[in-house]
């Protein structure tokens, strides 16, 4: 910490703080023209000059980019400083006499009419004043270099390369939104929004938050969702060896900094969505493949993001980042989902280690956890439609049926497969351990498309925060979040800028988990785009209609009723004694405190079975509460009253649902 004085007021600041920031903490006003906190200050306009004395003499510096490194005596209003600013403003006014805020600034310094006329005078009210904010926004916020400065002195100007239209510019409007004079405007928006200014206003807010806050929140711009690997490991949520455990001593080998330091291409837009300042889709260039049909070639790997790291790494007991990259590339090349590959392979590995599979059945693949060679060979077999890969490629649900019908398995082995086969409605689980979060078990089991977390990710709210203790609380969360998140799909917007970046004051809002200011933003995007005014309740209502339609589609495809919302027990609790014992203190405590069950003298198996009974009962109670909150009957069927309320009681919808009502509706 360093003690300084500014205009005779004392303040202690951290080393590196700029003079401008220190002055603002003391409510001392210093004029700025080319400064914005969202881009790097470079002192172009020099209006923010101040005098500093470090004990060796006085000199003038630009305050916006001068980092404080030693004790300073700063004067922001010395005669020399005021004279310099006045001259600068007179020069600016002589060149851009009709730009409003230059006129206003100049008037504050007593300049209303310059003494001279600039040879390149521009009388436009929207003249470019060469502040360079547009160039900085393009380069620093968007990681593009579409525009830059050309020429020197009087000839200096902002241009695209060779002063021609440059195709890579997609009109993201970052330059136009930051331009203080309106010199840059978006003149052709093919989407024809009803109110482009409204969309820009709310969109710019999020871009500014990304620029200012992302580095201290999720680091999405640096590492994308891969930042979750170490977080999930710390909270015992990183699936390890087919979701048996939630953390591993070697997880650090897959941490985001490993990918950032050694692999990720940095500082370029990701191509996921041009113009998105979050730019969280990462890529690895020039990765040399070690296996498969492209062995030896250098390729671009699109990723990895968290799910791929967890699924193609920890969950199959492999902690080698290059293996994850190889898997990522070949899954993409073969058109195989990395989550389904990881989760299905983890299932086969646990089956292999428990005698359900063996070398004869896998065609020679030794599929124990951590066997990189076997896992990669399996992926190539899946991609080429050969060998054991043909069976695994059909997914866990069909594998369970195939193994039970083809091999000589006893009932315990078949039950074991049901318990550890991490799928629901035929879709493989994504990569989170849900054993300690009943709400998240519902997040997976009650998701309409199958075991995916994109309807609701409630583990922190439930397991860590203890915010939603009752069944009704959990059901409310399992109503609101799926409805809200479904809306992203309806309008074709990405979910990540909703809550992977948050406003600086989000903590001070009533419901920070919902990120109210961003919900307000989405309401405004919708109205700004369509011209139809809505509010946040209508946003949920739009989703609720579609969500109930999707449930109807579940019925049409044979998945609608309660039994299809069942989850494998591995999702709810420890299947094996090994798992129970690995977290024995936690489970013992729950048996004693939550269910008041005397554990004295009980074996691990007895405790595990009792825990299972209680947790399975809880899951069914959760389903009851969620069905009720969603307006569905006890079998998970939307009631006639609900579909009437949503105005989707079309005859063919009613005809489908009527087949499933156990009791005739009133």
């Amino acid at each position: 910490m360093i003690d300084i004085t500014i205009d005779n007021k004392k303040i202690t600041v951290e080393e590196g703080t700029t003079i401008l920031d220190a002055a603002r903490k003391l409510n001392i006003s210093i004029p700025t023209l080319c400064y914005r906190p969202t881009v790097e200050a470079y002192g172009a306009c020099r209006l923010c000059v101040v005098d500093i004395n470090d004990g060796k003499g006085t000199r003038m510096v630009t305050s916006c980019n001068y980092p404080i490194k030693s004790t300073l005596d700063i004067n922001t209003k010395s005669t020399r400083v005021l004279k310099t600013r006045t001259m600068l403003l007179e020069l600016m006014l002589s060149r851009w006499p009709n730009v409003n805020f230059i006129k206003r600034f100049a008037a504050q310094y007593g300049v209303t009419k310059p003494r001279f006329t600039h040879p390149r005078v521009d009388y436009s009210t929207n003249a470019c004043i060469l502040c360079g904010l547009c160039v900085s926004a393009c380069s620093e916020i968007m990681w593009e270099d579409i525009i830059g400065f050309a020429g020197r002195g009087e000839d200096r100007r902002v241009v695209m390369p060779f002063e021609k239209h440059y195709d890579p510019c997609i009109g993201c409007s970052a330059c136009a939104n930051i331009c203080p004079t309106g010199a840059i405007r978006l003149v052709d928006d093919p989407n024809h929004p009803a109110d482009p200014q409204r969309i820009a206003r709310y969109g710019t807010r999020v871009s500014n938050e990304v620029a200012l806050l992302d580095h201290e929140q999720c680091r999405m711009r640096e590492v994308g969702t891969a930042h979750l690997t170490e977080i999930m490991n710390d909270y015992d949520l990183l699936p390890t060896c087919n979701y048996k455990f939630g953390s591993h001593a070697n997880a650090g080998q897959l941490a985001s900094n490993v990918f950032y330091d050694n692999f990720f291409t940095k500082g370029v837009p990701d191509g996921c969505w041009l113009g998105c300042s979050m730019a969280c889709a990462k890529a690895v260039e020039n990765y040399q493949l070690k296996t498969g049909p492209y062995r030896g070639q250098k390729v671009l790997v699109d990723g990895p993001e968290y799910e791929t790291v967890a699924g193609c790494g920890a969950n199959i007991g492999i902690f080698n980042p290059e293996f994850v990259l190889e898997c990522n590339f070949y899954c993409d090349t073969y058109g195989i989902d990395t989550i389904s590959f990881g989760t299905a392979t983890a299932f086969t590995m646990e089956c292999y280690e428990n005698g359900i599979l063996n070398k004869n059945r896998t065609g020679g693949l030794e599929l124990y956890f951590g066997n990189e060679q076997a896992a990669m060979e399996l992926l190539h077999q899946m991609g080429s439609g050969k060998g054991f890969g043909v069976i695994v490629g059909q997914g866990i649900r069909r594998m369970k049926t195939y193994f039970a019908g083809t091999y000589d398995l006893n009932p315990e082995q078949i039950r074991f497969m049901q318990d550890i086969g991490m799928e629901c409605k035929g879709l493989e689980y994504s990569e989170y351990v849900t054993k300690e979060s009943l709400a998240m078990q519902g997040g997976y089991g009650l998701a309409l498309k199958g075991a995916q977390h994109d309807e609701a990710w409630l583990i922190f709210m439930d397991m860590v925060n203890n915010q939603i203790p009752s069944f009704a609380d959990k059901a409310e969360a399992l109503h609101y979040f799926p409805m809200f998140r479904t809306w992203f799909g309806l309008v074709g917007l990405c979910k990540l800028p909703w809550n992977d970046i948050e406003p600086a004051d989000n903590a001070e809002t009533d419901e920070p988990a919902k990120v109210p200011k961003h919900v307000e933003g989405y309401v405004n995007y919708f109205s700004g785009m369509t011209g139809r005014e809505i509010d946040k309740k209508e946003l949920i209502l739009m989703s609720e209609r579609v969500y109930n339609f999707q449930r109807v589609f579940n019925f049409r495809l044979g998945f609608g009723t309660r039994e299809h919302d069942r989850i494998p027990y591995r999702s709810a609790g420890p299947v094996t004694d090994e798992e129970y014992e690995s977290r024995a203190e936690r489970y013992d405590k729950q048996l004693l405190e939550k269910w008041h069950w005397d554990i004295k003298g009980k074996s691990t198996s007895q405790k595990r079975e009792y825990l299972r009974k209680m947790r399975e009962k809880d899951y069914q109670s959760l389903c009851d509460a969620v069905y009720k909150r969603r307006g569905w009957d006890e079998n998970g069927v939307p009631t006639i009253a609900k579909i009437r309320e949503l105005k989707i009681d079309f005859p063919d919808v009613v005809a489908i649902l009527e087949k499933y009502y156990r009791k005739k509706p009133d």
Partner: protein, 68 residues
């Protein structure tokens, strides 16, 4: 008798000069997007090392949601 505090409804022994950063360390709360309230009052991030927890305090370390 040890004095206790409660963090997300779970008991934790109170100690002298217990600040927010120490609580995060003790609970291994490494996630960055947190809302922290002590006895219902918001504690901002720049106060995490300066705000000392009184005995008996009820602390909510609300982890927000991200990812996926």
């Amino acid at each position: 008798m040890d004095k206790l505090i409660r963090v997300n409804d779970e008991p934790l022994p109170w100690e002298e000069k217990l600040n927010i950063n120490r609580i995060l360390e003790l609970k291994n709360y490494t996630f960055k997007m947190l809302v922290i309230k002590v006895n219902g009052k918001l504690v901002k991030k720049d106060q995490y090392d300066k705000f000392f927890i009184p005995p008996g305090a009820d602390i909510k370390v609300i982890h927000l949601i991200s990812g996926g």
